[in-house]
């Protein structure tokens, strides 16, 4: 009888504990994040965000990230002449309605990552990563994408 009571008590405790835990879940958005299996040379999401943009026609949104060199440059300049050593990543997500706020959209999943590096010869090198996991894919005509990426000016704050 004592054993029975003990197990009933224990079950109740586990139930109560698990209920409490389930109310306070750790919510990290893995779907919108870069994965370890993605074939990127570094983690763009840990770089400095320069600005963000939305493409309503494609239900997509992007954030342009930069390394220290490019971030410092964009803070002071609004031209597209990034210095040697600059690394820029345009990360584009599919959008989804924000379930917590009608009237907002948030990222759903990564569609592609575009990288522009300014090499020692001052030339821009463009790489497109897409698919799941993200892999570099060959692109023929990407000069317009380079212009689009480097010409975005910084979202300034006071």
């Amino acid at each position: 009888m004592k054993n029975k009571l003990f197990y009933i008590g224990l079950s109740f405790l586990i139930f109560v504990t698990s209920s409490c835990l389930s109310d306070h879940k750790i919510r990290l958005n893995d779907e919108v994040s870069v994965q370890a299996s993605d074939d990127l040379p570094e983690n763009p999401l840990l770089l400095h965000p320069i600005t963000s943009s939305i493409q309503p026609k494609d239900s997509a949104m992007s954030t342009l990230y930069a390394n220290d060199v490019a971030f410092d440059y964009a803070s002071e300049h609004s031209d597209a002449h990034y210095p040697i050593g600059s690394e820029l990543y345009e990360v584009t997500w599919k959008q989804q309605p924000d379930e917590q706020w009608f009237g907002a959209n948030i990222p759903k999943k990564i569609l592609q990552v575009e990288r522009v590096s300014i090499g020692s010869d001052n030339a821009s090198v463009y790489t497109l990563y897409s698919g799941r996991p993200l892999k570099s894919v060959n692109t023929d005509n990407h000069s317009d994408r380079i212009v689009h990426i480097v010409s975005q000016r910084m979202a300034m704050v006071p």
């Binding site: 999401l45 990230y65 002071e76 009608f102 975005q152 300034m156 006071p158």
Partner: protein, 321 residues
Amino acid sequence: MKKWSVILVVLVTIFGIAQLIRPKEISNRPLSDLKNVPKDVNDVLRSSCFDCHSSETNLKWFDRITPANFLVNGHVLAGRKALDFSGWDTLTTSQQNNILSYALNKILEGEMPLPSYSFIHRDSKLSPKDINLLKQFLLSRTPRKVSDTAQLQQSNISFEQLQQNKAKHIGKQVVFAPNGIAYISDYRNWHAISSSDRFDNGTMRIIFANDIAVKAIQNKQTNPWPDDAVFAKTAWKQQVNADGSVTTGAFVQVEFMIKDSHKYAKTKGWGWARWRGNDLQPYGKDALFTAECISCHQPVENNDFVFTQPLNLHSLIAQSK
């Protein structure tokens, strides 16, 4: 039997005497239909919101009985203070949209109409059809329109001002928030943990987090967030370009959430603050403005009052090559 009769007489007498004690009469000034709002939307707002959120308060007979009248009066006064449709015509379209958006989201969260109110006032409950009507109406009021010349000019001026004044702002004393919180000037160098497209009010946001918050993400210790974790939700106007794409326009505001479970115990463990405009005007008349912040974040109480579902930055570090 005699005993029960005495108790009943006593209770009825107390109830009768209690009716002499009444709260101050709630004013009731009829409100015309809201301008530029379709009749069916007006009808929904009138039947579900106006009693507590406008000058027109039609109390039922049972609302006037003590002690219910004290409860109802409290609801109405607090409701009018939080949101009042009476001044609708004096508001800009943008302010009207904010009100509608806020009201609709409170309805969707199940917070409004107050369950204790709608339990008695059954006609205040909104049907799925009513809710859909409000959704469609709000969407119809918030289309993305290509920015006009004036908006583009404002965006350019804002950008140039901020770029030129950037150095001057370093060390400049920004006025404290009414609750004593000091402006944090270096958040633009923090990591982004998400972004959002608020098409309902024409803004776009990047949510920045300090190193402590980022470390908490990497260690999966985000609920609750550790003390000293700070978020800076930064909003810019949406600039809609001719090709339909949307880019960041003028700076609108930055909102901070600063975690300190002891220092800010009275405000759910968070210090709340907001500064608006290029001149960083603190938001709120007095420290009570935090009630507004908490009320808005209440639906995400189980997420430690944080709306944003952060990017998983943890796996990314391990993956660096």
